[in-house]
Symmetry: C2
Subunit: 703 residues, 2 copies
């Protein structure tokens, strides 16, 4: 890799007149020239630009946010083009997001952000093992170059895109979802299940069937009669309901959202200027033009319909935007089919037919026939594709602020782009109940953090396909640490609420969920400190430890300042290899009630095979660090956060900086939060600077 010979740590290269993406907030960069030494080559192709970077044998490439493959992205191709990719197969190059930030990490480090909202293709040592080439499908973009340590680079980049989204604190609790809990009775049964089996839960999701024929901002009267009272009855149990919102607005006369959109020209158009007709859940829809500020404001305000009824959170789906089919494509496909109906379909024509039908969805030609109105300008959607989901979510967030500017609302979204992290968290989309997707979940967390998606997590247990009991346990043992902890599964798959499993497994799942609640003081503190300091919650080992060994670790993560985790993600594994960059304290966690010093064991630096039975979680406490814990309760709100226990590893006084705030307002943005310094020696809490913490239990091992 070439490196800077320059004093400036951050530089910007403008290739053209960039379409305003609103991704970069901090614009104080020095301008770099076109032929900066950091880039091997910039080739000006006819309508595209090719960038090349050199990689040495030992270099790792981190970043690209939500994407396939490992922590180190070398050896494959990727595409930045938000895509409703429902399979997440190793051969795919794109998921729902476009996160054009990466770091080449070697003897020195180079961070690169490409501010462009069209398609970008990456070839990171795929065609040539030591070369990274990037094809930008346009000529109007900026490149930002960052230098420093890995942590410095991320911090600089994150500062420039603004502070990340912070959800209400209850959103750190366990959340239960399924496509679908399709009526009020079923939702009640689910809530009852958590009571019956004494399992904590803070939220239940409403997937598409809560709506009246999949129309945004409607509730089916038949399925959810008197919705407001129903929401209220759940809130009385301190269970929040989280409904889904689709990007597409159903075409249906007299449906208010449709009528208003038409009346005000709020919908995207086709080449001829008519509202573009696509189909998603309700069948035919129009897409609100979220690049139009008026349309954004209008759509954002629509969320008030549900906020008014006591809703505290939403998930924005299908906003790549996903297109099942367009009217035109469907017509063409039917014509092809009819022309071939009575022919002898052989291997080539048969697969052409299969591809035609499967290719109905998310066709590039449809995106190219979709237009936005930005000011007086018509902008082709294909060129700014990756801004769509971002701006839908921005609309929602701005709508929430209009409803109550100081109230945090849970917001998740599927499609995302750099800069969107200001507005929302994300879930990682429609994964499968595959061990491979648990591994993908583990490996994706740091790169999501790099681009500001701190509030994120995967569908725990897997959305599609049937989960096995051991996969459910192992996945939950990892999601234990992700700020978003949601169990979600698809129509037609095995039910995967904790009590759908045999007793032995159900009790293990309960123990893990309870451990999650015990960890909330730590997770929330680390999340908030990372947010305020533009830091990451999940880090690859190489961000804190400098060695070839640390660079090579793809399946362990640092979680906040005190922990390193080594999840088990292989079926039937009764342990795993762990690399310790330094001596640490291993806590083989199983249940909050079981914590005792016999579960704590010092492990020397180096590689070790460590046993982990199905009910054991490998958590390592770094030297000199404390892990605060609280006694689990069935809701986040009930946690007695001033009665803490600690596990610690080190000599003398051990310190931990505990973050606390009201958990629901934005007052923290004005500095209204508490940072309590917990200092613990081997006998007691020595000091807490706001002195309201009492120590219940402590398990300290002297280093």
């Amino acid at each position: 890799m070439k490196t800077f010979r320059n004093e400036n740590q951050v530089r910007k290269i403008s290739i053209g007149t960039c379409f305003p993406t609103d991704t970069i907030l901090d614009r104080s960069f020095s301008e770099a020239s076109y032929d900066t030494e950091a880039i091997l080559e910039i080739c000006d192709l006819k309508t595209k630009v090719l960038l090349k970077f050199e990689m040495s044998d030992a270099d790792c490439v981190y970043g690209l946010g939500e994407n396939l493959r490992g922590i180190n992205k070398r050896g494959y191709q990727y595409e930045s083009f938000c895509s409703d990719e429902s399979k997440h197969l190793p051969g795919k190059t794109s998921l729902y997001a476009a996160h054009n930030f990466f770091i080449i990490h070697g003897e020195s480090n180079l961070g690169v952000y490409i501010d462009f909202s069209g398609k970008i293709n990456y070839d990171i040592g795929f065609s040539c093992i030591d070369e990274m080439s990037i094809l930008v499908a346009g000529k109007d973009f900026d490149i930002y170059l960052y230098e420093g340590t890995l942590n410095e680079i991320v911090k600089q980049f994150r500062q420039s895109i603004g502070m990340n989204y912070v959800p209400p604190q209850w959103a750190f609790g366990y959340q239960q979802s399924r496509w679908s809990y399709e009526n009020a009775d079923i939702v009640r049964e689910i809530a009852k299940g958590f009571e019956t089996y004494d399992i904590p839960c803070d939220a239940i999701y409403l997937d598409i069937d809560y709506m009246e024929r999949f129309k945004d901002f409607t509730v089916s009267d038949e399925r959810f009669p008197d919705f407001r009272s129903f929401v209220d009855s759940m809130l009385q149990k301190d269970i929040k309901l989280v409904p889904i919102i689709d990007a597409g607005v159903k075409i249906e006369p007299d449906y208010d959202v449709y009528e208003e959109g038409i009346e005000n020209d709020y919908f995207c158009t086709d080449i001829e200027g008519n509202p573009f007709v696509a189909a998603v859940w309700p069948g035919k829809v129009h897409f609100p033009d979220f690049l139009n500020p008026d349309a954004r404001k209008w759509f954002g305000k629509k969320y008030h319909f549900l906020l008014d009824q006591g809703i505290k959170g939403f998930w924005n789906d299908m906003n790549e935007p996903a297109i099942f089919y367009s009217e035109q494509r469907l017509k063409e496909t039917f014509e092809w089919l009819k022309a071939h109906e009575n022919t002898n379909l052989d291997i080539y024509s048969f697969f052409e037919m299969i591809e035609k039908v499967n290719g109905l969805s998310n066709a590039v030609a449809d995106y190219k026939n979709l237009y936005h109105k930005v000011g007086t300008q018509r902008v082709n959607h294909y060129e700014v594709h990756n801004l769509y989901g971002y701006n839908m979510t921005r609309a929602a967030d701005e709508g929430f602020k209009q409803f109550d500017e100081n109230q945090r609302v849970l917001l998740l979204t599927r499609a995302s782009h750099i800069g969107m992290a200001k507005h929302s968290g994300i879930w990682t989309g429609d994964n499968h109940s595959w061990w491979e997707h648990l591994k993908l979940n583990i490996q994706m967390m740091p790169s999501l953090n790099m681009v500001g998606f701190l509030y994120s997590g995967a569908d725990t247990g897997g959305f599609q396909d049937d989960v096995s009991p051991d996969l459910m346990v192992r996945w939950l043992q990892f999601s234990l640490f992700t700020p978003l902890l949601r169990n979600h599964s698809a129509l037609g798959t095995k039910m995967q609420e904790p009590w759908r499993f045999e007793e032995k497994i159900r009790l293990q799942l309960r123990d893990i969920i309870r451990l999650r609640y015990a960890l909330i003081p730590y997770l929330y503190s680390e999340f908030m400190k990372a947010s305020i300091q533009f830091d990451m919650l999940f880090k690859p080992l190489s961000f804190e430890y400098t060695s070839a060994e640390a660079d090579g670790v793809e399946d362990q993560l640092l979680v906040g300042e005190s922990l390193m985790i080594a999840p088990v993600y292989e079926q039937n594994a009764k342990g795993r290899t762990v690399y310790l960059p330094e001596k640490m304290l291993l806590w083989k966690a199983s249940a909050y009630e079981n914590i005792n010093t016999s579960q704590l064991e010092e492990v020397e630096a180096g590689y070790h095979y460590i046993k982990a039975h199905l009910n054991e979680i490998l958590i390592f406490i770094r030297p000199g660090k404390l892990l605060p814990l609280v006694a689990p309760m069935d809701r986040v709100s009930k946690l007695k956060k001033n009665e803490l226990s600690v596990i610690g590893y080190g000599s003398g006084y051990l310190k931990y900086e505990l973050y606390e705030d009201d958990g629901e307002s934005f007052d923290f943005k004005r500095g209204e939060y508490h940072l309590s310094i917990l200092e613990v020696d081997h006998n007691q809490v020595v000091k807490s600077n706001n002195s309201h913490h009492s120590l219940k239990n402590q398990w300290i091992v002297r280093a």
Copy 2:
């Protein structure tokens, strides 16, 4: 797990009057009663039978032959129903084979073979973590129960199904394939590529385009003019051509195979007794009725058309049988489509459409409408589905014997069933260029060996999707050991012949292929000894080492008597963890020319992280063992097999039993082979009982 309280090591339970499957040759079993203690429960359902087995926490389940998931099959569901499964995703339950043999391995071991050719579903701790339940979709079958050590159980079972297929020795050389080398010029270019880059190769495959419009036993005059001379010109270079054969026979008047089949009633029929119309490569076809001995004989003889022209090997494809569509299903689908053409397709009806179209292929309803004639009886295909590919391959093998009863012919097949291993090798079907499929390949080899498929291997580099350079290298480093070593890739994917990669990678690939030729004396010896002794070539560690640690190893294999391998199967990995059940000698192999003692290192028993750069292969030599090597040549036939080198690990005299035969006849079946005892001390070959071996080099490390 329940165990026998019985003296008998093998017992048979007959549930009904079994349809003759010809899988079991050795019928000398004692009859066991219905309520044997080994089985927890046998439930007589209305048209099915449910078997249940107990598993303790520590038990592993091995077997099921060609299937998804790990060496230990616990924690998932499987289906025995030969299926053209083109994705091999973790959520699938069936591949191309039905291998109903498994072993529950714990404090004692229980082997189980279910002799049934219809559908069987396995739930191995998927629904209930400690229970295995097996649903047999019929009531006429036999169960065989085997007791003993793991090796004894496999040996007993294998003896009962007969000696496995043995290919000509040249089939241990490197083989190059692609869909397609579509004409003679391209095949010549490929052969030339191997010459130009000095890479060994023994065979080139001909995929579907060599035929005249996909008709079995035809050659396209246009693409391969004067085929006989062309084959001959390749044979003069000692390159064997291996054409593909489809199970379906094109419906085309005047095409001899079609006409003869119709005339003699050799095709499968539908419920009304008309030849069943399915579609595969050529479009509409009939399926030869391979369960009819006359049809089998007729079809087997058809191979002579190609044998006559100098062809030395074949691959039988699509013999599950795969059905792209049936006439009737296509018609129904088109009707559904037309009825929905102008409706508003919403999420449910749109996905119904997608499923209808994708569900055209391999529909159970089609298999249920397909009939065989067995003697005077009409047999529904669905009930004996898994016998189809088996009997196509049997037809081919019997045809070869008729052509020349003492000449080995290379034969691979896709669909398979227990007992077919007598007739053919298999490749593991249409995998992808995914690291996950390299791992699957590693994990599948022992279970294939258990059911007799010793001559097998995967499409190295992956069939579908584009391969990365490092995956190509790592995969070849594993396939180095599989008897079938074939590089195969699909239409539309990146070309993956060794010289399609940059020089650095090409040279590494060449080194690995040359190492393969160096290993042939060992691999062939171990293959043949395992064949004769009903043993396995690839074994999980637990077959030779008794410990919980050995039971847990899912990514290392014993290969023959001298070696343990630890393949690297993760991208960007610069090493891996290895478990050594005892002290062994590590050979970090890179190229034959590089072998020297600095590449040899003793490694203590236990878990170790061992570095392995992209060009390094981790091969462990077991204590007291020798590994014979020969100098690589560009063809198997040119290897100077009496000039051997050895790597050894141990004290005093080290022995190795080298197997040799003519490599092309079946004379070995009459005992006509040589077993030379190589005895080596630290200085020389001390003894070779047929004394024609000279020692070129030796690298011996004293234990």
